[in-house]
């Protein structure tokens, strides 16, 4: 039977909001998805639901109060935020650290990387509907949280960095306990990596979803495990070699596939790499003096100048710009640029062509941290002109 007449039915594009409150999202962001049937044809990323004015708060508080305020930008990556800010201050003050303090800083940051990567892999398991795996990973994550508690005094918020060193030292007993916890964690992480490689549920949902080509990564300035999952080898730890990263051996993990699965696998490999780095630090911890400076004797006023520090956070490159006028006890300007800011806002093109059910998977594979990226954004639509602000203008607030 042949077709006598073809009737074209006009397809109405459906506009589907995913977020700001959505079961698949853990933080408030709105993905406005335009779908043709099940296929996504356009995505608009809408942010601004979690803005707290941290940068302004930093200008209104002293340099040392800010160390604790910037730690609250993001709960999961608080030590790296504090480290980046503290290093920006140290560049202004020209402070030199002893080796023990540098190693302990790396230990705190790498423990944080382990638990951050584990939680996003657990969340990914939950998003694909594999709740058993979510529970298992979260249970094993408690070990690294305990290690962090032993080192810093708190499970999540470390408050570990201070200008000129760290705030707590560790003794032999604590060192052994952290090493023991990490050695027990390592086979579990290897096991989960194997589950992510071989399990059908995971592989079917993740492989080939949200593919990013290396050219897309560089043209859209994507950073961190997202870039490394597409074979772009960028890592501030390897390129800047801040703190003790110049002495601690590690590999920069990259994968060629570029899909959601590759990003998650990069995270598992980095977790294993971080465990090895932590074990190296615990083994080779130098004993060249006291890493804990006396907080009462730190300089109240920072010399005038600008400094720019960057750090490889769990989600990518994190930068802090601090400006001091040399007179006040408060910074003149603090500018934060977090990795999620690049990764979430610039990646709307990635969702095109996916099915609706894959959108949360693709978003989770970017490791969104919405509270990190929500700060002030000023857009001038009236003049309709484009021009780039220099860092100095941005800091001074003058055009």
């Amino acid at each position: 039977m042949g077709v006598s007449k073809v009737v074209e039915i006009p397809v109405v594009t459906a506009e589907i909001p995913i977020g700001p409150q959505h079961p698949a999202l853990h933080e408030p962001v709105l993905l406005k998805v335009y779908a043709d049937g099940e296929e996504v044809i356009k995505v608009e990323v809408n942010t601004g639901y979690n803005h707290r004015g941290i940068e302004k708060l930093c200008e209104k508080n002293t340099y040392y109060r800010d160390i604790f305020i910037v730690g609250r930008v993001c709960g999961i990556c608080n030590a790296v935020h504090a480290n980046c800010y503290v290093r920006a201050l140290e560049y202004l003050l020209d402070t030199k650290l002893n080796n023990r303090a540098r190693y302990l800083r790396v230990l705190a940051m790498e423990l944080e990387r382990i638990h951050s990567h584990m939680i996003i892999n657990a969340v990914m398991a939950e998003i694909v509907g594999f709740d058993t795996l979510f529970m298992q990973i979260m249970l094993d994550r408690e070990r690294v949280m305990k290690a962090k508690e032993i080192l810093t005094g708190n499970r999540v918020l470390a408050d570990y960095m201070i200008v000129g060193g760290v705030r707590r030292d560790i003794d032999e007993i604590k060192r052994e306990r952290i090493r023991d916890l990490l050695l027990r964690l390592k086979p579990r992480v290897e096991y989960y990596k194997k589950v992510f490689e071989e399990d059908e549920t995971i592989v079917k949902r993740l492989v080939g979803v949200g593919v990013l080509k290396p050219a897309d990564i560089t043209s859209h300035s994507l950073v961190g495990p997202v870039a490394r999952g597409s074979g772009v080898r960028i890592d501030s730890r390897a390129s800047d070699k801040y703190d003790a990263y110049d002495e601690i051996p590690f590999n920069v993990i990259t994968r060629k596939e570029g899909d959601s699965w590759a990003r998650m696998m990069v995270r598992w490999d980095e977790t294993l790499e971080s465990i090895n780095m932590c074990l190296y630090v615990l083994e080779k911890l130098p004993a060249d003096g006291n890493p804990v400076p006396d907080e009462r004797r730190l300089p109240r006023v920072i010399p005038p100048g600008e400094s720019y520090a960057r750090v490889e956070a769990q989600r990518g490159e994190l930068t802090y710009y601090v400006m001091s006028d040399g007179k006040s006890t408060n910074p003149y300007r603090v500018k934060i640029r977090t990795p999620s800011f690049n990764n979430i806002i610039n990646s709307a093109f990635m969702y095109v062509g996916l099915s609706l059910a894959d959108v949360p998977v693709a978003l989770t594979s970017l490791d969104p941290c919405i509270s990190c990226m929500e700060r002030v954004t000023v857009i001038d639509l009236e003049k309709n002109t484009k021009y780039k602000l220099t860092l100095r203008e941005l800091a001074g607030g003058k055009a």
């Binding site: 040392y64 109060r65 609250r72 508690e149 408050d159 071989e198």
Partner: protein, 132 residues
Amino acid sequence: MRRPKLVDLVIRNFVRKPATIQYPREKTPVEEDSRGVQYADLTKCTGCTLCALECPADAIKMTPIPQSYETPAKNPRKIYPLIDYTKCVFCYRCVKICPVNAYIVTSKYDIAGHTRFSSEEYSLSTLKRVSK
């Protein structure tokens, strides 16, 4: 079809005792030196207000010591730091900045409740009451 990889683990966990801690009936174990409730020892405190100035959460308010307590001579302004634990972020900046090391640190963490919880009771317990 292949056997799912997690089945062994799931079966093993069926016979294990639960990992969940039944808080608050059962306490979560914390380190002895984890950052919990801290308060000023008023026998050492000089009322210098440095902790109140340095607190990143503005949780510390300098408050007059009630007249029913003996005030040490080294505290001429007769004030002490009253910490509002509902605001406190437990960063221990006050502990580290104190010029006379007056702070007593504990690992007490279970302070959630219906009412505002402050260091008034703890701090004043370090002073003697004036007998009338």
